[in-house]
Symmetry: C2
Subunit: 220 residues, 2 copies
Amino acid sequence: MKAAKAKAGRRRAGRPPLALLGPAQITRAALKLVSRDGYKALTMSKLAKSLNVAPSALYNHVRSKQELLRLVEDSLMARVDVSAFLDQPWDQAVSKWAHSYRDVFSSHLPLIPVIALLPVTNAPQTLLMYEAVTEGFLRAGWRSARIIDAIVALESFIFGSAYDVNAPSDIFAPGELGATAPAFSSAVAHRSNAGQLNDADAAFSLGLAALIAGLATTLV
Amino acid sequence: MKAAKAKAGRRRAGRPPLALLGPAQITRAALKLVSRDGYKALTMSKLAKSLNVAPSALYNHVRSKQELLRLVEDSLMARVDVSAFLDQPWDQAVSKWAHSYRDVFSSHLPLIPVIALLPVTNAPQTLLMYEAVTEGFLRAGWRSARIIDAIVALESFIFGSAYDVNAPSDIFAPGELGATAPAFSSAVAHRSNAGQLNDADAAFSLGLAALIAGLATTLV
DNA sequence: ACCTGAACACCGTTCAAGT
DNA sequence: ACCTGAACACCGTTCAAGT
């Protein structure tokens, strides 16, 4: 923020600011790197190389790799769709928000500890997301005292479900030890949902519907 | 397993086997290291040092650090209490299991991706845990086809909640940007639960009760 | 203010050489 | 079969020196 402003002051009028190094450019380059090669490729030196700069130069704009991840996380948070809270019934809005939230971060699993463990301070997009959700809860009649707990509970489910999206399809294949777990092996073999959903989506839909229905009854 | 047996063959009668290097000893040493200094201290070289051995020696017993984490995870799974599924009503049993599961892994967050993403093949304790839970669901009248989805949904919530246990208490402090999210800031300020629970426990209780109640209605 | 280049203290893993 | 010691290809981060 501060660095960006300082630069804006030095910038000559009419010159496109896009080439200058700053938090926004670094975040953009990080997202590009991740979308091309995954999080194993998001190292300070590879990121620096993609910006034609020495690794140590990054530390003029970012305190640590943690802070970089924080920037990336916050920028992704803008992709979470909260629009349903404006004009749809609470349960439908929660469902759409939750689906969108899971889908955004299922491709960014290493950011989940960042969201779950780091304070929202100075994460403007994250704050906007929470604001929209909170307003939706208030509009639906939720008491202020319980809204954060409900959001945290939903988020916990969403984070766990984001991992599940990336699980291999044979994650429950019991292998040679199958005989020691006959009931479980049988349940795995008979796993099936009414529709044409994949396993992760089926579990997510079931859990989300249950969670929403259960929360709705405690809304009183 | 194979290595342990080979060693057992070589071992002289009457000699305590505890000093020999093998998967069980390595796992035990890893847990000791983690409980003393956390996961940042669980490196191959520190683990080797704690066993008075060269780092490369570990690779005679473990294919990679991933496999080591798998061993640690599986051994921790034995601590998850599934006993309530034997003699208590389904909803109570699920609640006790979920609490125990969350409590065990809230001190082992780096293992959550391991549980969520790695096949259960050759994870005997993990398999036993799933077997006990599945039997509990069957006894309660669940149809085989939906049991795995229900367990996955519960696990997703449990994993997310394990992160939440470790969140700092000021995680939702909006900082300087609070003015941009007034409804959220107010909800954070007014957050409170009836009882004497901490924030993480309050959200976990609320979500778990909702999830269990919601799942119970789809049980039919 | 912002960059480079060298350096530091680590990582996980491989592999020839020993016993 | 199992170990050691050296080596490899990396990490994130710091810091003096430049402009």
